[in-house]
């Protein structure tokens, strides 16, 4: 989670990519755009993130054991879970997932994450990209 220093909205890095949709640079710049107000902040340098990661890894583990809900793009391959909800109002995405039988209550296992997410729901294997994977909320 990142907090916008201008308007105070908390947002995910994935949401910020959506705000960049109209920009020809897309992800190639080194900035994060707040989806609420459009304010652009610099990304944290990788080194700092790495150091932060080293110190906060313990706390993260505690967090995740308390909170078992994850979106699919945060899961690792081999993980399994039950689909809790589909977090989007985009009816075209809902329709696609519906057709594939990716619905709340179904049990899901993640087989692969790169170059695309491959999930098994029931007896069906489905490949989806990160954008769609990030709206599927899974309880592990």
């Amino acid at each position: 989670m990142i907090k916008c220093s201008f308007c105070g909205t908390e947002f995910d890095e994935n949401d910020s990519v959506k705000a960049c949709a109209g920009c020809p640079m897309s992800k190639a710049c080194n900035k994060l755009k707040c989806p609420n107000c459009g304010y652009e902040a610099l990304k944290e340098p990788k080194l700092i993130r790495l150091i932060k990661g080293l110190f906060s890894s313990k706390r993260d583990v505690q967090c995740s054991s308390e909170n078992k809900k994850k979106n699919l793009s945060q899961m690792k391959s081999g993980d399994t879970g039950i689909i809790q909800s589909i977090m989007t109002n985009d009816s075209s995405i809902l329709k696609k997932l519906m057709c594939m039988g990716i619905l709340p209550g179904a049990s899901l296992s993640l087989l692969q994450t790169f170059p695309a997410y491959v999930v098994q729901v029931g007896f069906t294997h489905v490949a989806i990209d990160k954008d769609i994977a990030s709206v599927i909320i899974v309880e592990t």
Binding site: G101, Q112, T124, V126, I128
Partner: protein, 483 residues
């Protein structure tokens, strides 16, 4: 209606359904309950029907729909499918017996190897090498074409037709139409049957095998990230791969893509950088003698494909739709299926191209007797010199205008006569590949994308292909590649 087959939805939905049912008076083919459910899911066709048959109640009905919608966080069609899925699950639970699958069966292992990029990409290259290069290029365009061309057509059929025509038709103008160098029987039929058909047939056999094995969706998964860069997504792999068989067919298939933007980019790339199998076969046969020319040709075409795709995706506005695709189980293709598919595709192709070949022959004949052709050739000759080719290549390009593979086949003749150096061969192959595929593909583009888009594409592709040939020629000369 038996009540056991009805799905019981939650009370809010059932309430809304019965209210709508009471308001429906018109006579419909479907039951009132189905109509009510479809109205709640906002099916556009059914809404129109109800507006027509129950116009006095339509406003009340749409009020009920919008009130019901407000009670849920998700769209109603989603809510309804969730409840249907629950019912389906409970039925399946009762009646389906699950046999625990052996995880290490062979199809699961192959599946894993194919979708993992580390092993998947080498597999793609292997498929291309054996399927496209060995089977289509060397067997189809080499062995089979040689046999049909040299052993059958040149030795028996052509002299036979020439003799008949010379004996029975006294006018040399008409003789030229039917036989001799550009005649309907000696050129159109020879190109169609002896050169193009075996190559296209070989490609379609391979494509049917790949298609039936369930490999294409997995290929789509692998290339999704690259295709996103050029404004498409993994789903576009099907029209693009089919384009290696026949660009005309692929242009038609590109209508399966989701957005208009994707369809335009896919059509554009098909017209520009994807060589069809007839052309691919001839080019592979031409260039495989000198591996370096082949490598340069491959690099040029891939570079143009990615670069122009990338630029097109930046220029064309619009959002990119997400990638989703079901991966069907991998299966061993059935021989009968493969053969039937190949047969129907070859039949479609043959019926589509043969009239065009004959038409091209007639056009060339008319062009020759009126002298129009010589004028056009004179215009093209300086362009040929400009990109470093011998003036005789003008003929190939002019015919290539009618069909790209026709042009490539002409190149084949030119090469056999020993008129081209390796550098010229490379330049000619690249330029011909980038050229608009053929008159049929252009017609299909007009039909599918509209005349304005089609003309804009042609307006870019024509100068671009010659310019690329020019630049490539200078580069090759300056670097002394074929010195």
């Amino acid at each position: 209606m038996s009540t056991t087959s009805v799905i019981e939805y939650d009370s809010t939905l059932e309430n809304a359904i019965s209210k709508i049912e009471n308001l429906l008076n018109g006579s419909y083919v479907l039951s009132k309950r189905s109509i009510a459910l479809l109205l709640l899911q906002e099916d556009p066709d059914i809404s129109d029907k109800v507006k027509q048959y129950d116009s006095e109640n339509y406003n009340k009905i749409s009020d009920i729909v919008s009130q019901t919608k407000k009670l849920y966080n998700n769209p109603l069609n989603f809510i309804i499918s969730v409840q249907r899925q629950e019912k389906a699950n409970s039925i399946a639970e009762t009646y389906v017996k699950k046999v625990s699958e052996d995880k290490r069966n062979i199809s699961a292992i192959i599946n894993k190897l194919v979708i993992n990029p580390v092993t998947g990409i080498p597999i793609v290259l292997l498929v291309i090498y054996f399927g496209l290069y060995k089977f289509v290029g060397q067997f189809g365009a080499g062995t089979v074409v040689d046999f049909l061309e040299n052993d059958i057509f040149s030795r028996y059929i052509e002299p036979f037709i020439n003799r008949i025509v010379e004996t029975y038709i006294p006018w040399s103008v008409l003789q030229d139409l039917l036989a001799k160098d550009y005649g309907i029987f000696t050129m159109a039929l020879r190109y169609a049957i002896a050169i193009v058909l075996p190559i296209v047939g070989a490609f379609f056999i391979m494509f049917s095998i790949i298609e039936d094995s369930g490999y294409l969706p997995r290929l789509a998964l692998l290339v999704d990230r690259i295709f996103k860069r050029i404004g498409l997504n993994g789903r576009a792999v099907i029209p693009i791969v089919l384009g290696f068989g026949c660009d005309t067919m692929a242009t038609m298939v590109s209508r399966t893509l989701e957005t208009k933007r994707e369809r335009i980019i896919a059509t554009f790339l098909l017209s520009l950088a994807i060589p069809c199998s007839a052309q691919l076969g001839v080019i592979l046969a031409l260039l495989s003698g000198q591996p370096l020319t082949l490598i340069i040709w491959i690099i040029c075409v891939i570079l143009v494909f990615l670069l122009i795709g990338f630029l097109a995706s930046k220029v064309l506005p619009g959002e990119r739709p997400g990638f989703y695709m079901e991966l069907p189980p991998l299966r061993l293709p059935k021989l009968t299926n493969v053969l039937t598919k190949t047969y129907t595709r070859m039949q479609w192709y043959f019926l589509e191209i043969l009239p065009l070949f004959v038409f091209a022959s007639i056009l060339i004949w008319i062009g020759n007797i009126t002298g129009l052709f010589n004028v056009l050739l004179d215009i093209l000759k300086p362009v040929m010199t400009f990109i470093g080719l011998p003036p005789e290549a003008a003929e190939t390009f002019l015919f290539g205008f009618f069909r790209r593979d026709y042009g490539a086949a002409g190149l084949y003749d030119l090469q056999k006569a020993g008129a081209l150096s390796p550098r010229q061969l490379t330049v000619a192959a690249v330029t011909l590949t980038l050229f608009i595929p053929c008159i049929a593909q252009f017609a299909m583009t007009i039909k599918e994308r509209g005349i304005k888009t089609a003309l804009a594409m042609a307006g870019f592709i024509l100068p671009f292909s010659f310019l690329s040939g020019f630049v490539l020629n200078i580069l090759l000369k300056a670097l002394g590649v074929f010195a």
